[in-house]
């Protein structure tokens, strides 16, 4: 089962690991098709479509799949109590993680700071 978005869907923990191993800049949003999550997927879809963030790989993952332990159990997500969990990876390492809904400016702030070209 995957999320109903136009983003790349990560189904297994291996998928996540492969994506962050093969790409310098990765943003993964782990959530459900819920009110706090959908706006974040929408921002990612629009950014991907804009072509201005081609140096970033955007992907999503269903929060309730057991495979999502790779996101849920990250030390950076400890204490998170709001969906979605959004994680930013640089060269395979977590550089930033956020909990709950984020707006475009909050996402751009992280992307421009962590994945500066």
């Amino acid at each position: 089962m995957t999320l109903q978005t136009n983003l790349q869907h990560l189904v297994t923990a291996v998928d996540v690991q492969k994506l962050i191993d093969e790409n310098e800049n990765v943003m993964v949003c782990c959530g459900r098709m819920g009110p706090m999550c959908v706006p974040v997927y929408n921002i990612m879809e629009d950014l991907e479509k804009s072509g201005k963030y081609n140096h970033v790989k955007f992907a999503d993952m269903l929060f309730d799949t057991p495979e999502a332990h790779i996101i849920r159990n990250l030390p950076e997500c400890r204490g998170f109590m709001g969906l979605p969990f959004t994680v930013y990876y640089k060269n395979g390492r977590v550089t930033k993680a956020t909990s709950s809904i984020q707006n475009l400016n909050q996402v751009l702030d992280v992307l421009d700071r962590e994945f500066k070209q």
């Binding site: 459900r32 098709m33 819920g34 009110p35 706090m36 999550c37 959908v38 706006p39 929408n42 921002i43 629009d46 950014l47 804009s50 400890r78 204490g79 998170f80 109590m81 709001g82 969906l83 956020t98 909990s99 709950s100 707006n103 475009l104 400016n105």
Partner: protein
Amino acid sequence: MENKQYDSIIIGAGPAGLTAGIYLSRAKARVLILDSGMAGGQIILTHEVANYPGFESISGYMLAMNMKKQAEKHGCEIKTNAQIIEYDLQAPLKQIKLSNGESYTAKTVILATGGRSRKIGAIKEDDFAGRGISYCATCDGDFFQDREIIVIGGGNSALEEAVSLTKYASKVTIVHMLDQWQAFASAVDEMKENPKIDYLMNSKIVEFVGQDNLAHVIIEEVATGKRYAKKIDGVFIFIGYVPNTEEIKGLVELNQYGEIIVDAHFKTNLEGVYAAGDSIVKRYRQITTAVSDGTQAALNVLEYIKQ
């Protein structure tokens, strides 16, 4: 950079804006809808809509997506996550500029900017968002399984969500700053009948405290000013909405609450500028009233364009 002209530009893609778009585009007007977030507005935050005629029960997200598809099918252009940096609403030809350099002009503008969840303004409220503070029971309720939580508010949303959160939480305490409920009697009765719910009237949270996560809150008794700490695992806030009108403050006439003042034709104080939905002055804010506003604003815009 793109510089296109339309008959009408609608600011906001919630029910009011999308409805206005549907009516205008069906009448062959060229319509652009801009939204700073995603299409749907506040209804995407609603788990279940049970009072929208024609649908016995539908998720807010699905209803919003249906409206969006319908608007696009009739020819509306919709741009989401559009950051407006400049409005020129005074001139006969209105102009809207975006942060990406795009610029659009139109004979008319409909302001359907909607609202957003009101924050309580307590110390460290932003710091604990997603770390113990939530504005969505259906999204985050299951993080609080067998834990003690607080729900802030005294209206229908607060009381209904408090009841729904008892599916997860071991105890729910409602904190309400007034001495009477704003909710309907049926919602109050259902809340009072629930053995897991307790409530504190005349009380407000003034500070959130914790390290990585929320650990306790400081509650103030409104009448006496007495403050005390209460250990808590989570807080859900449902205290209504504020209009999204900060960006147009000084451009169109607003009342003291920041709501757009319109006449009976949904016209603002500016020629060719109309407004509809939750951001205008009105008593009831429902999906149906937003749809009604959007319809009437669009029909008035069509009359205006014909002149």
